[in-house]
Symmetry: C4
Subunit: 253 residues, 4 copies
Amino acid sequence: MKKTVIKILQRPRLRKPILIGGLPGMGYVGKLAAEHLLEQLHAKKFAEIHSPHFPHHVVIEDGGVLRALRNELFYVRAGDNDIIIWVGDVQPISPEGHYEVVEGVLDVMKTLGVKQVFTLGGYATGKYSKVQPKVIGMGDTRLLEKLDARGVVVERKGGPIIGAAGLLLALGQLRGIPGVCLLGETHGMVVDHRAAQAVLRVLVDVLGLKVDMSNLEQRAKATEQTIDRVRREMELRERKARRREEEEVWYIG
Amino acid sequence: MKKTVIKILQRPRLRKPILIGGLPGMGYVGKLAAEHLLEQLHAKKFAEIHSPHFPHHVVIEDGGVLRALRNELFYVRAGDNDIIIWVGDVQPISPEGHYEVVEGVLDVMKTLGVKQVFTLGGYATGKYSKVQPKVIGMGDTRLLEKLDARGVVVERKGGPIIGAAGLLLALGQLRGIPGVCLLGETHGMVVDHRAAQAVLRVLVDVLGLKVDMSNLEQRAKATEQTIDRVRREMELRERKARRREEEEVWYIG
Amino acid sequence: MKKTVIKILQRPRLRKPILIGGLPGMGYVGKLAAEHLLEQLHAKKFAEIHSPHFPHHVVIEDGGVLRALRNELFYVRAGDNDIIIWVGDVQPISPEGHYEVVEGVLDVMKTLGVKQVFTLGGYATGKYSKVQPKVIGMGDTRLLEKLDARGVVVERKGGPIIGAAGLLLALGQLRGIPGVCLLGETHGMVVDHRAAQAVLRVLVDVLGLKVDMSNLEQRAKATEQTIDRVRREMELRERKARRREEEEVWYIG
Amino acid sequence: MKKTVIKILQRPRLRKPILIGGLPGMGYVGKLAAEHLLEQLHAKKFAEIHSPHFPHHVVIEDGGVLRALRNELFYVRAGDNDIIIWVGDVQPISPEGHYEVVEGVLDVMKTLGVKQVFTLGGYATGKYSKVQPKVIGMGDTRLLEKLDARGVVVERKGGPIIGAAGLLLALGQLRGIPGVCLLGETHGMVVDHRAAQAVLRVLVDVLGLKVDMSNLEQRAKATEQTIDRVRREMELRERKARRREEEEVWYIG
């Protein structure tokens, strides 16, 4: 694996598909929203993405089962526009890796005739807030106007977007695929189902979908538990990382 | 995008062209000077540069419009020697990236028949100074002598030059394209239109151009405002970066 | 050497071979166990691995003899399933390097018809313990069940695995080669022959091999002496590393 | 320049040539010794090496003249064995870069029929010493025995060698070219002509050459002056580096 591999398990024929991306990031907002969406819509997996630009860890699932870190592509038939959903365990570890993975996904999207892209994510405020989180929109002018026309409340704000959420739009735009990034206001340090809900409400409104939000809180809790479990492993792991460094220095034969 | 892409929008036919490079760096001196020059000369864009060696951010413009980070090439007809101007949002993030982008630009320059290169930048002193900033010149011996002969006051000083301003000259020289780097004395921590002006005065004098400098101060102020706006975003972003790192460590499934 | 080179010294014909991997890591558990196994089974070397993703050091052996860092592949005939053993001086230095080396080894394993993979390593607790170290197993469900069926006591636990021990299994699984990772509980800061023994006991039990463990303790002591010798070199070397950094910055002609 | 380029200016025909390598490193010992040797032997340059794995700086020479960082290959006719000398401004910045440059040089050496390699360097003790510096030898057993047979006093010691001095030998050995590394005992923090002299004495003794050592001290002083000049630039440059980092973070349009 010298470069990113996108393994197509089954190539779907889709009507004017729209790509929705939600990878891990601020408050897990994008990942929570996208994974909730694919569950509610009973989306089908059609591709797996592995990359040497992902971390060289592995995922341990329940019962000690082990698998490589990956991203996945799902699809679902949905009226005039079918929907593709990009989710995953991780984002690439380097800028070069980000460019490679995003371009690879765009190659696949081109062959599937994707017309629009929505990326979902969080926008860190560093504050806990009890009010309904705002949703910020950035990207293609005409798509943003369409959001306005539909009465969707989306703030427009300049600010840097790091990673796949922005890069997918920017490189898609260069290929003539317009898109919008929807970022939910979040603390940043906690898994935030409310921000995910806010972002998802805007998205389903724009796409004319119906999605039950009730399970989203539950999913956020499950994610928090996973994180807690891993957090306990962290002390050991950090020691391990430091140790590995020393070992590399010590070891000579 | 596995490597740097230089998209030629329209290939101009040029008379003995001279390349002028001004990318972001110390005090934004080179960028300010080069962008002021291209505005005053009504230069036309003819190429866009994208690279996986640029940061994986995106640029957010007014109204929430979003685009990929890029460099741009402009040209302008100007007497005996037409002029090409290289400007951009960023420099590459790694030494390897610098070599790749500079070589790519030189490939294009070769096909356009470029005869000389001038790169513009700042030279940090760490001090605020009220007097007219000095301009330091480094590079090809004969071009430096020509500056002397024209009465252009240019100090010659040894000192390391990091990044595109030096590398473009050094790699151009290996291909037989002579060049000079003009660096304006600047504090280093502030956007410095006066240093940009000093550098640009030397350049237009050498090239026999006429350029109105009055807007340069205004442009420096606009740049400062942009930076201030972004600076406010920075606290959040730094938190985000730290957070992302922890997430990458925590996340396993 | 632009990429990893696996030099096959002599290609063996093997019966349903099983790959056992033990590279340097936590407490040297995997390396100690795998090297003890290959000695006891009088395994034969059939391949050497060199990689630009290994550190740019060299190994100095007794009498001042010097060689490149490497990994090695050995084989041994052993009943129904022949055995291949992967050992080495180091692991790659980057995630991309890990993916490249592991994929390269898997390419060779495919041509040799490998049916299963066991990787050996340590699991850091940060505590010294006098009791018999536990062995943790992760990986393929059916292989884990087989361990249960044989009465092998293996705990199953989620936790991140970094490096070749996990990645070999994860990428092997993608190619249809099931595997299990056996990690011995260890302090993490010391060379741990007891953890290596515990891991090796599980392995030989599963594979139905007979291996004398008595030399393992002796080997661990010799390794500790080597480390002491190297530790004395360390102060000089760290000074050297710091010095090199300064030199790179200072040097211009 | 995607990869290392070795430009052969003029391909010499050589008798059983021996390669001598002396790049910048501990106390500049190898560089001083190799450059002194090439001056005394009036060696001729026949190749230049440029690499994207060198730092993205440029060298500023007297009078503001600027050139790319490089390595150089010289040759000199010298009895039974002609001599090739590898010197340079810098070593590569990454392990991968080291492997690429060393392999590139070895490719050229193979075509020139090189039979042996000697690399020169320093061995840091961290102490100033008034006595004659010891010379440590590591590498090929038979070459080391030959040194013994000639009465050359060379200590043999295990210790890590980082960078080109070790890697050239290790990768040369894999291609069947034996070699020895000669390291002179040095403080590490100062340009050390005495260590260079000690190393060079061993080398010329082995090779049966006659070299006047009187200029070596002078050369060391000149090198120290260059370093002092650059050191004064360093404060500014470090500020520049820090500044560039902040700018990269701030900059968005």
